[in-house]
Subunit: 228 residues, 2 copies
DNA sequence: GCAAAAGTGTTCACTCTACACCCATGG
DNA sequence: CCATGGGTGTAGAGTGAACACTTTTGC
């Protein structure tokens, strides 16, 4: 069991593209850098991978340290390793993308620390390093993925109205959808089920629904393909 | 421009899952390891990333060094970094998948060196490290990808018969397709065009076709979605 | 009673699927 | 002339898209 590899090694980081949904538009969680380089610039949350630490675990750890988020949906996106992407030297970054429900979101409305903040996905500031590239990649992935996998539910509260769900799809896909067709298609899948609750407001209350993960898994394992 | 990061760092490698098509089934190119650990075992071609070397460049370099292949279709797959995946210590591997045309394939039928060999994708030997996991991931990705992106052409010669193309799709998707429907759908896309050539054989010659990359790009940029 | 959002069906066009026979060549 | 794979069309079912009005609630 030799201690091999006495070559110089690139440094290894993880970065997270965190998406949220505020009811109207898709949002991205950024942090303000407190260190050089790019001190004061906005950047994706992330940091160095420890020895003996799994990559996804590193992403979750950094996410919690820098934004307080835990237990979110997280999936590997792509690894960015162009020489020169970090002015300090060779740094390779494994990027993840995360989806956060608005109800378990400590950073939302966070004003005491100007360290983490949400930005509309279509109106982002300049970012440190190559983080804009990573972000664009993540957006494309999300747009592609939402069409054939039920990831959208990770951006809504546990129970939601069908109008909210439709607004989410419209925001991500960037185009309007027909209300009756949208609901008809959902009706065909039985993994979106009614709850007993209703949402309030100055108008007719909307029935709340939830995503039934077990029913979805049962269907999917039978070679079922979701498509919206 | 501090020389920061005096932490211990994981070692970084690239590994390539190389797919080929022999006219009947999907194949994977493996190499026999000449070093410990797993000496003599079959493994994915790959190796260490140099400092100052782009990740994809590293994958291409290793591919050429170990199999002689160059200029192939190559795309990043996923990064595997579980602690313990390499008995020598912490090694993180960025996996790529490659598609090679049978006509520019030096390794095919290679018998003098028992170093690289093709295996049917559904009948693989035990592999070193976690390479079986990587391979399974690559297969899933290929199956998913071929349905909405014209990657299949990267596995066929420059010009091919429609029967060959259909056989390829059937091999990857793992089910039979209707000949008339298959050809009807291709006819609707005008990026598969007739050439003047014919394939020989003891029977009626088949018209050769080719993939028109420019026409495809023109369509795709207009928001066109390929689906087979 | 009015403003605001919720909820609900039908028709038409198009796409997908199933299906069987004649054609061109080499031997 | 026969064996082998190449090449072609149609009908019926299913799916996707367009489209407008009634209901329920708070104020």
């Amino acid at each position: 069991m030799a201690h091999t590899y006495e070559y110089p090694r690139p440094a290894l980081t993880v970065d997270c593209v965190v998406f949220g949904f505020d009811g109207a538009g898709l949002q991205v969680l950024l942090i303000r850098r407190g260190l050089e380089p790019f001190l004061g610039a906005w950047a994706l949350p992330g940091g160095f991978v420890h020895m003996e630490e799994d990559l996804e675990a590193a992403a979750r750890r950094e996410l919690e340290e820098e934004t307080g988020l835990k237990g979110v949906f997280l999936e590997q996106l792509e690894t960015f390793g162009a020489p020169g992407r970090d002015p300090r030297g060779r740094v390779v970054s494994v990027a993840y993308f995360a989806l956060v429900r608005p109800d378990r979101n400590p950073a939302r409305g966070d004003t005491d620390a100007s360290e983490a903040a949400w930005f509309p996905a279509d109106k982002l500031p300049e970012l440190a390093f190559d983080h804009s590239v990573i972000l664009t990649t993540a957006l494309e992935r999300l747009r592609g993925k939402i069409r054939y996998q039920p990831v959208g539910f990770e951006l809504l509260p546990e129970s939601f109205t069908l109008t909210q769900l439709q607004a989410l799809y419209e925001a991500i896909l960037g185009r309007g959808l027909d209300k009756r067709n949208f609901r008809k298609k959902l009706g065909a899948f039985d993994f979106v089920v009614e709850t007993q609750g209703f949402a309030g407001g100055s108008h007719r209350p909307a029935r709340l629904h939830r995503f039934d993960h077990d029913k979805y898994e049962a269907l999917r394992s039978k070679g079922f393909l979701f498509e919206l």
